[in-house]
């Protein structure tokens, strides 16, 4: 039995039955990280001491036959843009490389309450801006399937941790595909929940109206398990929906349902790699074989999604990142004697290329004379994109598309061409703009052996539908 290969729900059972000690398990994960992290660069910080301490508490509960939390003993990696009290939270940025938050994100509190073991903080594109983890101040993470390839991003470190068995589960954040795309490129399951179901309190904001925290896991059951724990209303987040948390794992007991599937024609053709398109089409065949009704539909505004997304996301980001000014926390430039200089040098030296580019873009689209043409326009087109989905979900349960038009690309391959990099988010940004849930599950590999992701989208709060459909496909794609 290899602990690293176990799913979260399996590991919890083992620990519960006393077949493995929690501390012993956690220690073995930590050993593995120490061995492999040098080449993978998945973790930025290990929380070894507190992880072992939490593990001891779980062991004690087991021995005293106390009730165990839903995530008892499961090693979980947390993306380094989610605040963990007393532990450095860098956001992959030089400007925060010494920042230690005095508070816990709501999701962290929820993990702890369910006896999860937080083993460390994972690498990401700086402030979650990127699709490859190459924008991290601390260097890129590597794809465990091919170390010369990117793991995707921005939650690359979390995807790598789960894919390589360094953590059983991980939390990521998804603003325009940052959970789903790395999940696809690393061959794991990644869920972007309905906007407002998981509290954003303690998630360092990139684009507030788009950001959601979600799980990266080895399978759909773990995704349902982890989502059940982290979702639910939070009074500290004004955009948090009044829903109570739910045992989504249990809903999978009766998963055999037939779904009405919509396949948008805009998601197929020209831009996709051949292997990706074939794998997704194969999955669609499988759905037909399962007697799901599959129809082609149109999402006419999808072609405007990238422009709309990058206008809204950068505008919000330019404001959200204004607080990094060297006054209250974080990096302060060493050679400034005037306040204006201190601001400009701190931010000029503290932020990386991609972050500066997006702050510039966002400042531009909000600036006097351009607001209506760009930001104002973007918000209106966002209405169209949302309506596209509203219309489809009147008649269909789920929408199917590739997660990414390509498999993992080479390190350094796209970094010099920002627009091309942006365009690769074509299938993921729509779900964020519309606020709907979407999951990426593995659906085969390319000829070169690189994972391919299938994306399933549903209407707001239809995570249960997503889990059931994904679970069923997962069972049948296994072969």
């Amino acid at each position: 039995m290899k602990l690293a290969e176990l799913k979260g729900w399996e590991l919890r059972e083992l620990i519960k039955k006393g077949e493995t000690g929690c501390k012993e398990a956690v220690a073995s994960f930590l050993d593995e990280i120490k061995k492999k992290n040098k080449s993978l660069n998945s973790f930025l910080t290990l929380t070894e001491e507190s992880a072992l301490k939490s593990a001891e508490i779980v062991d004690k509960k087991v021995s005293q036959k106390q009730k165990l939390g839903a995530l008892a003993g499961i090693p979980i990696a947390v993306k380094d843009n989610i605040c963990l009290r007393g532990v450095k939270t860098t956001c992959g940025s030089h400007i925060l490389d010494n920042f230690v938050p005095p508070y816990n994100a709501t999701v962290v509190e929820k993990l702890k309450k369910e006896d999860a073991i937080i083993i460390g903080k994972t690498n990401l594109d700086e402030f979650a801006m990127g699709s490859s983890t190459e924008n991290s101040y601390f260097g890129p993470s590597k794809n465990p399937h091919d170390l010369k390839k990117v793991p995707g991003g921005s939650s690359g470190g979390s995807a790598v941790a789960v894919a390589s068995g360094l953590a059983t589960m991980a939390l990521g954040s998804d603003t325009g595909g940052s959970i789903r795309q790395p999940a696809a490129l690393c061959g794991v399951v990644g869920l972007k929940p309905t906007y407002g179901t998981v509290s954003r309190y303690g998630l360092v904001a990139f684009a507030s109206s788009l950001d959601q925290i979600g799980p990266l896991t080895k399978d759909v059951k773990d995704s349902a398990l982890l989502f059940g724990v982290i979702s639910g209303h939070d009074p500290n987040d004004s955009t948090s929906l009044k829903i109570s948390s739910k045992d989504y794992l249990k809903t999978l007991d009766s998963y055999k349902t037939k779904f009405k599937v919509a396949v948008p024609k805009e998601a197929f053709g020209a831009g996709n790699e051949k292997d990706v398109e074939e794998a997704v089409k194969k999955a669609i065949k499988l759905m037909e074989k399962l007697n799901w009704s599959v129809s082609e539909v149109s999402l006419p505004y999808m072609e405007y999604a990238i422009a709309t997304y990058y206008i809204i996301a950068t505008a919000e980001a330019s404001s959200n990142l204004a607080r990094y000014d060297g006054v209250k926390y974080g990096y302060r430039s060493k050679d400034s004697s005037q306040l204006l200089e201190l601001y400009q040098n701190t931010r000029g030296e503290g932020f990386g290329n991609e972050v500066k580019r997006r702050i510039m873009l966002g400042t531009y689209v909000l600036s006097a004379g351009y607001y209506e043409a760009y930001y104002g326009k973007g918000q209106k087109v966002r209405t169209f994109i949302k309506q596209d989905f509203d219309n489809v979900f009147k008649d269909f349960d789920i929408v199917i598309m590739p997660t990414s038009p390509t498999v993992a690309f080479g390190l350094g391959e796209k970094i010099e061409d920002p627009l091309t990099m942006y365009l690769s988010d074509i299938f993921t940004v729509s779900a964020n703009l519309a606020g709907i849930p979407a999951i990426s599950i593995p659906c085969g590999k390319s000829k070169a052996g690189l994972p391919i992701g299938l994306q399933i989208l549903a209407k707001p709060l239809a995570e249960e539908t997503i889990f059931k459909a994904a679970y069923m496909l997962e069972q049948n794609l296994k072969t």
Partner: protein, 510 residues
Amino acid sequence: MKYESIIGLEVHAQLLTDSKIFCGCSVSYGADPNSQTCPVCLGLPGVLPVLNKKAVEYAVKMVLAVGGTVAPHSIFARKNYFYPDLPKGYQISQYDQPLSTGGSVEIEIPESKAKKKIHLTRIHLEEDAGKSLHSEDNSYTNTSSNVKQKGETLVDMNRCGVPLIEIVTQPDMRSPKEATLFLNKLKQILEYLEICSGNMEEGSLRCDANVSVRPIAQTKLGTKTEVKNMNSFKAVEKALNFEMERQIGIIESGGRIIQETLLWDAEKELIAPMRSKEESHDYRYFPEPDLVVLKFHPQTISGIGGIRSEEKFGTPTITIVEKIKQSLPELPEARKTRFIKQYQIPEYDAELLTTEKKLADYYEECVKNYPNSKAVSNWVMGEVLRELKERKISVSEFKVPPKELASLLKQVDSGTLSGKMAKDVFVEMAETGLSSEKIIQEKGLVQVTDTKEIESVIESVLRENPGEVEKYRSGKERVFGFFVGEVMKKTKGKANPSVVNQILKEKLSS
């Protein structure tokens, strides 16, 4: 040529909530620097704002009190600019969809007694920034590199996130005097609503002004300037007068007014430009994505029912405009009118007694226990206000409760105390906070009304002054006062004067 000024005001009033507008930090004044902050108001990475319900209720109270219209749909916006005491790099405010529009405040021009309406453009909610202390004396050294510069700025974030309403007027005021009249009226309303302390010195009421001048009879408006940093009512009038004169001076010497922001320097009593170079602001306002819309449904504004809660996802129940409307206290004008009618006191009295809600409350409480309303009015306007002024305290800090004043006045009526004695006792009460009974007892101040005791004193006075008695009896009635004085001397002023008069007359005519 004669000129008039055109003045519009932007008034910021701090709302009297217990906690800040977007977090649970206390807002009490005068706390140690940076001792009233949390991750939210410090703008730490990852935090989110949640709107204080009471702040919304208070703001709506003000809107209703000035007859404004609560917008059915209002949103918050981010105002983006960099400043050390603005921790997030933006201020959460309201921009193109404010809480309310319209409304007005009526002022009375003292000379002409003419009433004038000052119209409001809007009232909106926003958060305050922190406080920066600038110093030239200490040089700033970048701790990590030894780069030096003259002067440093120290920042205290306690005030970050304190709830404010911004009240914006139309340019309706025609003189600095009118501006102060308006400001006083506004302060009075805020105090009556008990939503703001109105203390300009503590910064809980702040005011910026837009000022331009033009020759009387000219209709075209002149170029306006913005005057900031006026921290007291006196400063407002002084600064606006200064600015008006400055602008007239420039025009008369053939110059042109530049549109700029000016700061009032209260110490030097002059105005100086805020920044040397002209750079246009670009605040890049956009809707605050971390807060949701404030909705007041039409039926709640016009008078039926409450706010509908969201059926689909469910939101907490909300402020009910109608409930707030019903909870509005009687406002100064209405109270004044009622005082005149109900207590039969002169308009002058009613005006003075209702300037401050607490004072009017004091008066009414006193009248409840001692129904001679004019006597109470005389005492409150005279003795009470004098004590407050001398002690530099507010009504709520005053040590004599209205019930105690009432019982003091009753003792004058019953003859226990003379009017003169009562005034002395009152000063003592204001000083010590003791009851009148206690003071009277301790000082042995009870007025002597015992006829026998007074009779024997009078007899001895008459005995000791046979010459004066002779004078009186021979028709020189002026000496009557002499006898009264002597009796009072002997009784240390405690003898009841009317009893003394009565017995003296009897004795002298017998």
